[in-house]
Symmetry: C2
Amino acid sequence: MKTTLDCIPCLIRQAIEASRLVALEPCLQECFVRDVLRWTSEMDLDGPPPLLAQRIQRRLRELSRVEDPYRALKDQQNHLALGLLPELQRRLNAASDPLALAVRLAIAGNVIDLGVKGSLSESEVRQALEQAMTEVFVGDLEAFRQALAKAERILYLADNAGEIALDRLLIEHLGPARVTLAVRGAPVLNDATRVDARAVDLESRVKLIDNGSDAPGTLLEDCSASFRAEMAKADLILAKGQGNYETLSQVKGNLFFLFKVKCAVIADHAGVPMGAQVLVHAAAAHPEPYGVRA
Amino acid sequence: MKTTLDCIPCLIRQAIEASRLVALEPCLQECFVRDVLRWTSEMDLDGPPPLLAQRIQRRLRELSRVEDPYRALKDQQNHLALGLLPELQRRLNAASDPLALAVRLAIAGNVIDLGVKGSLSESEVRQALEQAMTEVFVGDLEAFRQALAKAERILYLADNAGEIALDRLLIEHLGPARVTLAVRGAPVLNDATRVDARAVDLESRVKLIDNGSDAPGTLLEDCSASFRAEMAKADLILAKGQGNYETLSQVKGNLFFLFKVKCAVIADHAGVPMGAQVLVHAAAAHPEPYGVRA
């Protein structure tokens, strides 16, 4: 999807908050924000929002000399979400429709997007998950169930740290033997990397790859050839989170998006209400499709 | 006060929303937003936020060829607030401390800052006013009462349309004969101008002046010499709203700010909680005072 004017103040706010996270020196911080504003004034709005976010976060890492600014937050998110797994697994075991619950939980994990909002307590995360269980759900679970029944090679595109622990529940339900899990190729925001897949004990359970890119989404032209080959080989792709939706909504393929609607721009683009949990096939999400190139 | 980095995304969001209010052609809208971003990337952060807002709104009026983009909204705000006056006047007449209530109502009027948020229903405005009656109040009402007892020439700096109807209740309580009411010199956002003072029937009750400026605040260097002379002659100045606080917080003089805290930057600068109603003397608000120049 394209970047809208409404994305701009949000991207700038995110940049400012990120600059605080690494405690950038005030003069460096001002220089950084001025760079961001200048780039934004000249940006190509035909690209998706993660394209600018990628550039912003690269510059922040460069100026701060911090390789992974969100590492401590991501560790905290993983730890919190991992602590919830035993109880959630018991609920899954007792559920009348475990797939429906596993999908809900995986999307709910997308709520624990601390992003740049600082820290959340365990009780806040529990509350967010409980609320997520009763939120509006938009999507065709039966079509998803049928797609899963036929799939032999599933590529699962992870989104954030913390959330990736809840992805583990869904992946285990799908059957890890047929799943390849893809994380980002390098740190960006609180997006999950190989470090996070290891932290939630997923590396030992599935084939783990990274996409070779430091964009907070899946910018195909920025991903590695080996990642694109995996994408072309998969007969079903599950893409988690808004960043993957923003970058892949025009891709043609057997791809389902699973995300929580956290902003009005996405709600408008996907035609779904704010706050909803969404499970939507790419065929229903792309006005101008283009193919996945290996 | 200076412009903080956190003011920037907010000013940009305000610009985008304002461009929708005048239904700017998409290509003009993009050009406008790119201008705003470029100016922001080069702006002097030592100036107060209304300095950039002034430039943005000027450019919008120029591109849209609409002299007063917020006119219809301001008319609606005035009409709504005027409709509430008889009932509020009855409550004032029955109040044990009418000054305290009139101050609360005048500050509460600052809540009806539709700004660029579109339209509010009468019931929403009533609800906002009722809530405002019980909100946290920060300020020294007794010092204000004593200052009023001594004042012979009161200069009252208005803020928004709609709100100005509730200012009328306070002005009538103060005694209109000693009050000069100042509005903005030209349209900017939903700030009150002479049109609004007339609409709420204040022109016939007080000496009405304008400040000669189209900034959403009181930028002294941009105000007319006659306005600055009025300011220098006054022995007590009441300044309504965040915009006046942002532009006058460093002015030395017998000046009270009356406003509702609507953003975290102001809360931080004034050392008061978000959402609070504030009545604060300039002596408590300026770390680096400078004098009022006539």
